[in-house]
């Protein structure tokens, strides 16, 4: 029976690690499908993780109890949207190079969140530990099923939300006229303009959605994994989410698969030491595993990436 609980827990941990990546990768998809490169996902996640940590702390302080993490999530969404507007204004309105303005977001996030934390928490480099993180919501009945119950139906609400959003994002992108317009703007903006799509407005929507979703991903890390915000709460996960997006060919379902793959390779590291045969493998190789596997899979199976055609081009209506 022991291995059954282990497998159940492994699936569960995989999903915990994947959740943030799923949100952030979905965010990247909305931005890049509209034609705006978003290297700033890392920074947007950092902003979200920060806002969630701080707002949730103050909500606890004000006696909100179990509602506090949800206030944290709301704060993260607002923060993510504001931060993504910087990227949008620079790259869409002022036609800045999108890679550069994404790098700007990363710099601003690294600096300003820590600056604000030090201001608010008397010079400490991290927020006070949260008492009320998110708690798991076991699905009635389903969570009783062996292995799968523990693995799939005893999760944080954010995990369920992430999975639902994958389906919603897929539906929105491929089955609605909004999605069609968004993709058209990313593939051939001048053609879209000709048929009356407001190119710049669609791109703003794409970038803002990416800010909200990436911040939600960051908030997830603070509220489920670390319960505090510090400079290394989001260390590199935004870049992994970008990888998941590219890996999944800018498709929500593909990105979901890639995010779960990354989550799994992270989770397996936690469990590796449990098996007798794997004790001798140096821990560094286990840490390395997800990254090396990605390279191998990319080279072997995926090959040419299928980025939106107008990705990275600022839209200039006067230029045909």
């Amino acid at each position: 029976m022991d291995w059954m609980t282990t497998i159940g827990q492994l699936i569960n941990t995989t999903l915990v690690f994947s959740t943030a990546l799923i949100f952030a990768a979905l965010g990247g998809i909305f931005s890049e499908r509209s034609g705006v490169v978003n290297i700033g996902i890392e920074g947007l996640m950092t902003f979200g993780a920060f806002a969630a940590g701080v707002a949730s702390f103050y909500a606890e302080d004000a006696g909100m109890g179990a509602a506090s993490p949800y206030i944290g999530i709301l704060a993260a969404l607002v923060m993510g949207i504001i931060a993504s507007l910087i990227h949008a204004v620079a790259s869409i309105t002022f036609k800045a190079d999108q890679v550069i303005s994404g790098v700007v977001i990363n710099f601003l996030a690294a600096g300003s969140t820590l600056y604000m934390v030090k201001l608010l928490f008397d010079g400490a480099g991290e927020t006070t530990l949260l008492k009320e993180g998110l708690t798991k919501w076991p699905v009635p009945l389903l969570s009783e099923i062996p292995i799968i119950g523990e693995g799939l139906f005893n999760n944080y609400p954010t995990t369920y939300l992430a999975i639902i959003l994958v389906l919603v994002a897929f539906y929105v992108l491929y089955k609605t006229s909004f999605g069609l317009r968004l993709r058209a703007v990313g593939e051939h903006p001048s053609a879209a303009d000709t048929v009356g799509v407001k190119v710049l407005r669609m791109r703003y929507v794409g970038v803002i959605l990416s800010g909200a979703l990436a911040a939600l991903g960051g908030a997830t890390v603070t509220l489920t994994t670390t319960n505090t915000f510090s400079h290394n709460t989001i260390s590199g996960q935004g870049f992994i989410a970008i990888a998941a997006m590219i890996f999944g060919k800018w498709n929500p379902l593909g990105a979901f698969g890639a995010a779960v793959f990354f989550g799994f390779s992270q989770a397996i590291g936690n469990y590796f030491q449990l098996f007798a045969w794997s004790k001798d493998i140096p821990q560094e190789f286990i840490y390395m595993l997800p990254y090396v596997l990605t390279v191998i899979v990319l080279v072997a199976a995926v090959g040419k990436s299928s980025a939106p055609a107008a990705l990275g081009d600022p839209y200039d209506p006067g230029k045909r």
Binding site: F94, E284, V295, S305, P314
Partner: protein, 359 residues
């Protein structure tokens, strides 16, 4: 990506200068909002950097690896490639230099150092070359591969340090042999024991090499052609794939050398990293502020290094959290990227000058 170069060819100096001033103003405003005194903060920053020889020397030490990773990122940019992997190339460069510096014995003093430097550069070049090769031959996105190689390089280096170079019970390698050191003893004593090393000289030479190679040689012309328009370069008979691998390799050599300098000239050992050191990512910012030009990078790395080194003094002098400098640097890049804003700011000055001419 080709847009990048078009933007950067206009107003080569004015825009970054105005951007730097605007960035410092943004930082000042944020300090005011936080209840700090920006004049005191900037004052203590600059008085630290220029106030005594030790700190000035250490600032130069801080600038050196930034020049190298900045050159690395810019070199790839010029060939139309986004090398986000300078971080990993820097780390493997450190490790290769450490291995040679610690394990090889019996080499004469200058030779050993040269071999260790070359090993660092070569390791960085190979690390980036993998990305270039996979991009050229398999069409895999270079951004994602180099992100993956950053982490792989970090853990691989930790593995090598932990298993082959470690001092028992400590999280760092043995010291490199004295023969592999590139420290400059007499210069260090002039600078009150600041850690001065030959890497700084090589970094400046590397910038000169970058300029000559990119703009005065046929190979550089090909790289730039491939960067501007790969298809056109192919029709003109250039081997695009070979150029991609070559550009990434040279880019990686720069970053790897930067790592080697840190080990051989500054620390003389390598620690096990708990997280990414970040010098490679800072190189992206340095390249952008320096407008992807080698001489611009010398200036922007100097600015970046001064701000970073001086920022620690701001917390002593004015009690300001040093993270404010990241906001300043981010704002500078923002204003350089969004040149529309800068033009709007400097427009009144232009107009005035024109009016005077008319009168």
């Amino acid at each position: 990506m080709s847009k990048l170069f078009k933007i950067f060819s206009v107003d080569n100096l004015l825009v970054p200068l105005v951007a730097i001033i605007l960035g410092l103003i943004v930082g000042a405003v944020i300090m005011l909002i936080g209840g700090y005194d920006p004049l005191l903060a900037y004052g203590s920053l600059f008085s630290t950097v220029f106030g005594n020889v030790y700190d000035f020397g250490e600032t130069i030490r801080e600038i050196t690896p930034l020049i190298m990773t900045g050159l690395a990122v810019a070199f790839a940019f010029r060939a139309g490639l986004f090398n986000i992997g300078a971080e990993g190339q820097y780390i493997v460069g450190m490790t290769a230099a450490s291995v040679v510096g610690i394990k090889i014995t019996g080499l004469p003093i200058v030779v050993h150092a040269l071999v260790a430097i070359l090993a660092g550069g070569l390791a960085g070049g190979i690390w980036a070359g993998i990305t270039g090769y996979l991009k050229a031959k398999r069409g895999v996105n270079e951004v994602i591969i180099s992100i993956m190689l950053n982490w792989t390089g970090l853990y691989l280096s930790n593995y090598i340090v932990r298993n082959f170079l470690l001092i028992k019970g400590q999280q760092r390698s043995e010291d490199i042999k004295d023969t592999a050191s590139i420290s400059i003893g007499w210069l260090s004593s002039t600078f009150d024991n600041a850690r001065m090393h030959w890497g700084t000289v090589i970094a400046i030479l590397a910038a000169v090499f970058f300029f000559i190679y990119m703009w005065k040689s046929k190979q550089g012309y090909e790289l730039r052609a491939v960067g501007h328009n790969g298809d056109a370069a192919r029709y003109a008979g250039m081997n695009v794939k070979k150029n991609i691998v070559k550009a990434m390799f040279i880019s990686g050599v720069f970053a790897g050398l930067g790592g080697a300098f840190q080990v051989l000239g500054v620390f003389h050992y390598q620690a096990i990293f708990t997280g990414s050191p970040g010098v490679g990512f800072d190189g992206i910012a340095v390249a952008l502020i320096g407008m992807n030009h080698p001489f611009g990078i010398l200036l922007s790395a100097s600015l970046f290094g001064m701000l970073t080194y001086g920022s620690s003094a701001m917390s002593f002098g004015a009690d300001v959290p040093p993270e404010i400098i990241r906001i300043v640097i981010g704002s500078i890049i923002f204003f350089i990227a969004a040149q529309g804003i800068v033009r709007w700011v400097i427009k009144p000055f232009y107009l005035k000058r024109k009016k005077e001419k008319v009168l």
